[in-house]
């Protein structure tokens, strides 16, 4: 697995967030993305996931771009987990079922998300509670577990443990070690623990 981005540029409402940005991630490595609020870290992940259009530049996974893979297949392989998990309808279990039935996810079943998240301190009962009843940290762990269970080649993580306690955070970091990721974090200690390479975005 080799993920690459070349010459990426993105501006929002006339403000340039980044331009001529290159990055690459190899199998099993974590690229941490650091920078002040408003530097465009989230926007960068959105562009890598092909959810937001870049003004310039291209991205590729094993030499093929999103259109070559098919955009939905691209996202099953390069999967974004947002920092703020939205108010999905129903329960985490419902979301897991919906995702399993997506056309592009056919045949990609991986580990059981409930078992994954249990190791991160999320009790199995939480999967049958409505999203709106869950805390920020519980939502983060459920959403992350669903994403990981689909076996993406590259995880795009936006502050994945920002609402989790130190114990869950350590468990998540341990579970994700060895997985390729672009990992946005504000926490310099976390950066030191998980990152093989660091990309710093400025304002």
């Amino acid at each position: 697995m080799r993920f690459e981005a070349r010459g990426l540029a993105r501006s929002v409402e006339g403000r340039t967030l980044f331009r001529e940005l290159d990055l690459s991630v190899e199998e099993g490595r974590v690229l941490a993305v650091a920078g002040p609020s408003g530097a465009g870290k989230t926007q960068l992940l959105r562009v890598l996931a092909w959810l937001a259009p870049p003004d310039a530049g291209e991205v590729s996974l094993d030499g093929r771009g999103p259109s070559d893979w098919g955009v939905t297949t691209w996202r099953t392989r390069v999967t974004l987990v947002s920092q703020a998990v939205p108010d999905y309808p129903g329960t985490p279990r419902d979301l897991g079922d919906v995702v399993r039935r997506l056309a592009a996810q056919a045949g990609r079943d991986g580990p059981d998300p409930i078992a994954l998240a249990e190791a991160w301190g999320l009790p199995a009962e939480a999967w049958d509670q409505r999203w709106v009843k869950l805390s920020g940290g519980e939502r983060q762990r459920a959403a992350l577990a669903i994403a990981v269970s689909r076996r993406p080649d590259l995880l795009l993580l936006d502050e994945p443990t920002s609402a989790c306690d130190p114990k869950s955070t350590a468990a998540i970091e341990a579970a994700l070690s060895g997985r390729a990721a672009v990992w946005v974090t504000h926490d310099e200690d976390q950066e030191a623990r998980v990152a093989h390479d660091v990309l710093r975005l400025g304002r």
Partner: protein, 266 residues
């Protein structure tokens, strides 16, 4: 035998307008600030209906298929203006798309009504087709404006959900199906409510009119049933077409939700 129809002159209309004055007084007393709107709406009612009345005399007399079809298209265009005017978010091209959705839904239902159900000869007989188109359009207008308004509001407010599903590999349709379903459910509510209350609580205007004009009530009831079914068909078809179009319009061909395409008005 039914009684003769009471002839109405201007005085009778003025007498009815006295009730509008009552509304006006209420607005002033409670400070509702509705005086101007009430005035404009009342004047529009009088002018539009009188014009329609006079317009229909020659249409009914010398009606040609072209004239009837032309009036239908014009009514559809006016109804589309109302639809778009009631929604506070918009997408480029929504007006023209709504027009075609209304046209397909309403013309489809109206033509099915005159050709297949009632079997009027000739099919364009204005006494049948023009009021039928009017009733169908009036209801489709409601359905479309609710459906489009909800679709855009949900896609705007629940962007996180939709993008969350896209991020996990959903197609634009997989990600927005819930939104479209919810909007269509709401679009159908008014007509379903009317169909449930009709006869128990409400006596529809057309049936009332037919009875006043001397039709046997059981004939008037059959006409009304047919009309309601045609309306339900038109609301469903028109709303589905319009909602699907607008959902598609806020996604690009890369399955990306382009919420910047949703513009707020006012």
């Amino acid at each position: 035998m039914s009684p003769d129809l009471v002839h109405l002159g201007p005085l009778e209309v003025v007498a009815a307008a006295a009730l509008i004055l009552l509304n006006g007084a209420l607005s002033v007393w409670l400070g509702l600030g509705l005086g101007k709107k009430l005035g404009i709406a009342s004047i529009r009612t009088v002018v539009q209906l009188l014009l329609l009345g006079y317009l229909l005399v020659p249409v009914f007399k010398w009606g040609s298929p072209w004239l009837v079809v032309g009036i239908g298209v014009l009514m559809t265009a006016l109804a589309t203006r109302e639809v778009v005017g009631r929604i506070d978010r918009t997408v480029r091209g929504m007006r023209i798309a709504s027009f075609f959705a209304m046209l397909v839904g309403c013309a489809g239902a109206a033509l099915y009504g005159v050709l297949v159900v009632v079997q009027v000869h000739p099919w364009w007989t204005p006494q049948y087709l023009v009021p039928l188109v009017g009733m169908v359009l009036g209801n489709a207008l409601n359905g479309l404006s609710i459906g489009l308004d909800r679709t855009l509001a949900l896609l705007d407010e629940q962007r996180g959900r939709v993008e969350g599903l896209l991020a996990l590999g959903a197609t634009w349709w997989e990600a927005s199906r819930e939104v479209a379903a919810e909007a269509l459910r709401l679009a159908m509510v008014p007509i379903l409510n009317s169909m449930s209350a009709v006869g128990l609580v409400t006596i529809p205007g057309m049936m009332t009119g037919q009875i006043l004009a001397g039709s046997p009530p059981e004939q008037a009831a059959r006409y009304q049933i047919i009309i309601l079914f045609l309306i339900a068909g038109a609301v469903a078809t028109g709303s589905v077409l319009a909602v699907l179009w607008v959902v598609r319009a806020v996604f690009d061909d890369q399955h990306r939700l382009r919420s910047e395409r949703i513009r707020r008005r006012g």
